[in-house]
Symmetry: none
């Protein structure tokens, strides 16, 4: 998706006067009547982890600013610095065109119910179409009340262990933000090549290693019976091939074989000379 | 998928004597040297939210039990009640056959790097094939050290805002557990096992092989300079881990080490006796 990396790199530029569009289009996170300052801070941190920056509070219990929120944000102060506080949920979402209400479990409401995973994809599509979206989260103890849920277009729910479904506020924000970030490229990121230095070993280097090891094993009669040699050699070569050895790995392994055997050989030479 | 709902509903039954298999097969969560009791508690809560129950601690800074952990677990006490404490990471993962090391960003290590999303699918497949898996998480401030990462088969990383990538310990656990839970319903068919006989080696068998080889290498002064030992040991262990050794492979490799070195030792004994 064009521009995705750019968006990730400059996620949450604080809005400044006359530059209200500095932040790339992204979902607003609306905390309705949050109780604990700590949870506001950890929610801000979770947002910034996934490049979200538009935080809105409705009637925070302990007012705003809140020193505990700042401490808990662990450096995500740019989110707190630019947050906005509202008296009513209606005002907090006034500019939004699609709103999700997060609830622990679907209620009997005439609303579509989507998972965080589905909501992230929907929100990407909405924003790509130029619309403004946001997600409501309720107070820690009670969750959103029905009046707030009614204001939303859809209910967002996180599939949870039905035997233990109490999810901390900041963790609910984290999962929604995580899914949003993940949805940036539906194509999974390319699996990274393990970095183990140097280039892959050539077949010649591998065979050199195989034969070096097998020679030494012959010397100590490792294979015992001649009829077992071929299958064991095949087995050992398979193990080494599976390791996808690099040039430097071959060097190390040949060093191991040499060092383990040279001590024996030196000793033998010494004896032979005596 | 048959059994999925059942598994979800009874996630983390504590192990009791004679009923060690009561918990359905699932990844172990291994917290290495966790500092804050609160984080152990919130990690336990996050696990139970997604039906995980096998929590293992390696050298918790403030010992165990920890009253702050219990308070922070918000009722997820069944996870804390059944957790196990270990002195060494090697012991904590001894029974596991595939291990992931969680790191904030990929390091230059000879390991494949997977996202939490990919790891969850891999772990589902491994467990469906009857294998035991686990995920390592490092201490809050520093993350896993290289010695612990080296013990793992792969590095697990969560894609984050590069401008703000400090993820709280419990939130890292939450995301891994969330992906695990999400993956329940999108399991790919178990990947076809290459037929190379016997079962995958346990971590205990691998560590036994590592230590056997390293002991012999110490004897012949393979590492030369003491300050190079750690990086070379890490390199050698990585090579062997990449080979995805089976039980029988470990047997063969230990046989090689023993035979290459026993001849020397026998000779020495003979000399000593003369």
């Amino acid at each position: 998706m064009a521009g995705t990396d750019h968006r990730r790199a400059r996620p949450a530029a604080a809005e400044t006067e006359g530059e209200a569009t500095a932040r790339p289009p992204q979902p607003a996170v609306v905390l309705v009547a949050p109780q604990m300052g700590e949870n506001i801070g950890t929610a801000a941190r979770a947002m910034l982890n996934f490049a979200l920056g538009d935080l809105r509070l409705v009637r925070p219990r302990d007012g705003w600013p809140n020193i505990k929120a700042v401490a808990a944000a662990s450096g995500a102060t740019e989110v707190l610095d630019s947050l906005r506080v509202f008296d009513r949920t209606e005002d907090a979402i006034a500019d939004l065109q699609r709103v999700y209400a997060t609830t622990a479990r679907p209620r009997h409401l005439a609303k579509p119910v989507v998972t965080a995973h589905e909501a992230a994809r929907e929100m990407r599509a909405e924003i790509a179409a130029g619309r403004r979206v946001g997600v409501l989260f309720g107070p820690e103890r009670t969750g959103l009340d029905n009046d707030d849920v009614v204001l939303a277009d859809a209910v967002l729910t996180v599939p949870l262990n039905p035997g233990f479904s109490s999810l901390n506020l900041a963790q609910a924000v984290l999962l929604v933000a995580y899914e949003w970030f993940q949805a940036a490229d539906e194509m999974p990121p390319p699996r990274q090549e393990p970095e183990h230095g140097s280039r892959p070993a050539t077949r010649e280097e591998l065979v050199g290693l195989f034969e070096h090891l097998e020679r030494e094993l012959d010397e100590v009669n490792f294979f015992r019976a001649a009829n077992k040699r071929a299958s064991l050699v095949g087995r050992i070569r398979s193990i080494l091939l599976r390791a996808e050895l690099r040039e430097a790995d071959v060097h190390i392994l040949r060093g191991i074989v040499a060092d383990l055997t040279d001590a024996r050989r030196r000793r033998r030479r010494k004896e032979g000379g005596s």
